[in-house]
Symmetry: C2
Subunit: 123 residues, 2 copies
Amino acid sequence: MGVIHRFIGSDTAYAWEGVAEKAYDRGDVVGASKKVLIGPDEGSFNFRVRYFRIEPGGHSRLEQHPQEHGVVMLHGRALVRHGDQLSELGPRDVIFIPGNEWHQLTTIGDEPMGFLCVVPAHD
Amino acid sequence: MGVIHRFIGSDTAYAWEGVAEKAYDRGDVVGASKKVLIGPDEGSFNFRVRYFRIEPGGHSRLEQHPQEHGVVMLHGRALVRHGDQLSELGPRDVIFIPGNEWHQLTTIGDEPMGFLCVVPAHD
């Protein structure tokens, strides 16, 4: 049976019914939180869709792993390190980060930044 | 190397740099178009992220297949048939449709409806 998570947040505080905020504290992470929108709890066997929010001054961990990422920006602005490049992204911009590429997302400016991140289920 | 598709559209006409509109004409589909944001062209081996837009009065095909879907609404309102249920969805609502569940999305109202749809790469 399909699972629905209704959006119950606002432009400045994204939240969904039935979706808890999960710890996102591995390694060198600053001011970031994570919500799993689609994953094992929903019955997904092949991929996960997560929402990450990173506060002003914060960033995700600089990391490298075999799993690829599909990122769709939702709000705010991000500086993305991908491989040896730096790119600035804004709302609705999309980036695909292939497996084994170093990557890190840092919030630009005074507003929190949020994005969807798709990853294979075996991550 | 990471691939970026910058958003170059508007609130009423979503578009991304380097992303073409692809035919979406299989079976009983009315007023729908598709843009593949992340897929084989970007080097994704495990999943695809597509944007679908369905015009007022339009709908996707009523279909059933082994591949699961992760859907995140972006704009407009949709009536979703999933299994034997009908649900209304609006912006930022999320639905997971497991494999083999019948599903169809129909636009509600006078505005086009658009959503992201994640699917395993072997679809």
